[in-house]
């Protein structure tokens, strides 16, 4: 392995994450960072989402940095105006999210859990898989998923997401098989399946675990 890696923001991949315009630009994955999490998010249009609204239930401290453009954050009950150059620190229990107020807004997100060695977030592979799918590259998405399942075969979330992926791509049998496996690993997968619209097309199937 080389001693260092260099990449420009413009060269990072773009994975569409949701319907609100959120675009994930993997930094940690691209550079092979192991000690902390680092990702960039870009909103191409004003009004697009640039940080998902979420809590860090895994206990990560998160630092966001507005690298370009201009965003509005929600941080707990507060609204924070965040022009380029703003740092926003969010403790794990604080609900946070952001929208771009200018086109081409890019935010860096840095995160890790205090007091423990850093573990690479498992969602990265899932984001990549669905990002490829949204960009029309089903094969690349499936490759990401397969790698994630091989790496963490005991995690129900991986199988659950694989089931969603297969449901979205119309592979009914495979979707049901993955979902059954997820539920075997953890029964709460069943509750999640009940409210996930990815499975709407499968709900009438007698095999659907309801």
């Amino acid at each position: 392995m080389s001693a260092y890696e260099v990449v420009h923001l413009d060269e990072l991949e773009r994975f569409p994450v949701d319907e609100e315009g959120l675009m994930w630009r993997p930094v940690r994955r691209r550079l092979g960072i192991k000690a902390f999490g680092c990702n960039a998010y870009t909103a191409e249009q004003a009004g697009d989402r640039v940080v998902e609204e979420h809590l860090e239930q895994g206990g990560h401290e998160e630092l966001y940095f507005v690298a370009a453009g201009h965003a509005t954050f929600t941080l707990g009950d507060e609204e924070v105006d965040a022009p380029a150059g703003t740092f926003v620190f969010a403790a794990p229990g604080t609900k946070r999210g952001a929208h771009a107020t200018e086109p081409g807004t890019t935010i860096l997100a840095l995160g890790a859990k205090p007091g423990v060695p850093h573990e690479i977030s498992k969602w990265e592979a899932i984001f990549a898989a669905f990002g490829h799918l949204r960009s029309g590259d089903e094969a690349a998405g499936r490759k990401e998923l397969d790698a994630a399942l091989a790496e963490h075969p005991q995690e129900w979330q991986g199988w659950f997401n694989a089931a969603c992926f297969e449901a979205q791509t119309g592979n009914r049998e495979q979707a049901l098989a993955h979902l059954r496996h997820a539920i075997e690993l953890d029964p709460k997968a069943k509750e999640w399946a009940a409210k996930d619209e990815d499975f709407d097309s499968l709900r009438d199937d007698p095999e659907f675990p309801a």
Partner: protein
């Protein structure tokens, strides 16, 4: 200390350092404990943004050029880094530095150790004292460094900075004593001492040569 969620602009927490750079103490200001994060700004072209160093504590380090244009040198390789460039130095032992190519070059530095819980760096606290260099408040620097030294008598860096402040304040004997102790604790500080203009006031002292050794490199003022 449990850190609270909040926002701040980079300009809100910048302080001057004695090399003329500005330093934003991001980790310490927010109370982040899971990774290290600081930003450095050079106001002039050709100014150093990141001092030449290796990460002796084993950190992987990610640099992001926020604005301006920097040139990194890593193990002798030159890396052109315009705004928006990420430079990830995986190997803690790699020698790296960064120099501004444009005025107003800011580099964000993020660090942590693979496979280990993050521990905030000692150097951050020592470096906070360096704000006194900008105002030439040597008495203030000596008072603060003496306190830090009492807390951590084995820190070579604190002793070294204390010696520098004492040299600048004209306290020759104190400076020589603390410099000696610092080099006894960490031999490679002798190299730094050989070229550090903060120590010019005591460089002609025979004891200085005995402590820091003879070097081929003349001091900037000689």
């Amino acid at each position: 200390m449990s850190a609270e969620s909040r926002a701040a602009h980079i300009s809100d927490f910048e302080i001057g350092t004695h090399e003329g750079r500005r330093w934003a103490q991001i980790r310490a200001t927010f109370g982040i404990s899971a990774f290290g994060v600081n930003a450095w700004t050079a106001d002039e072209p050709d100014q150093i943004v990141i001092n030449e160093h290796s990460e002796d504590d084993g950190h992987e380090e990610l640099y992001f050029v926020v604005s301006g244009h920097a040139v990194f040198t890593i193990n002798g390789d030159e890396v052109d880094a315009p705004a928006g460039t990420f430079v990830f130095v995986r190997d803690p032992a790699a020698k790296r530095k960064s120099v501004a190519k444009e005025a107003g070059t800011t580099v964000l530095a993020v660090g942590g150790t693979r496979g280990k819980a993050h521990e905030p760096d000692d150097w951050e606290r020592d470096a906070h004292v360096l704000r006194h260099w900008a105002t030439k408040d040597w008495d203030g620097a000596i008072a603060e460094l003496s306190e830090l030294h009492a807390e951590r008598p084995d820190s070579a860096r604190i002793l070294y900075n204390l010696a520098c402040a004492e040299s600048l304040a004209g306290k020759r004997e104190d400076a020589l004593g603390h410099l000696r102790q610092s080099i006894q604790l960490e031999g490679k500080l002798a190299e730094l001492a050989a070229n550090d203009s903060d120590l010019d006031a005591i460089r002609d002292d025979p004891e200085f040569s005995a402590i820091a050794g003879q070097t081929d490199t003349p001091s900037p003022s000689s």
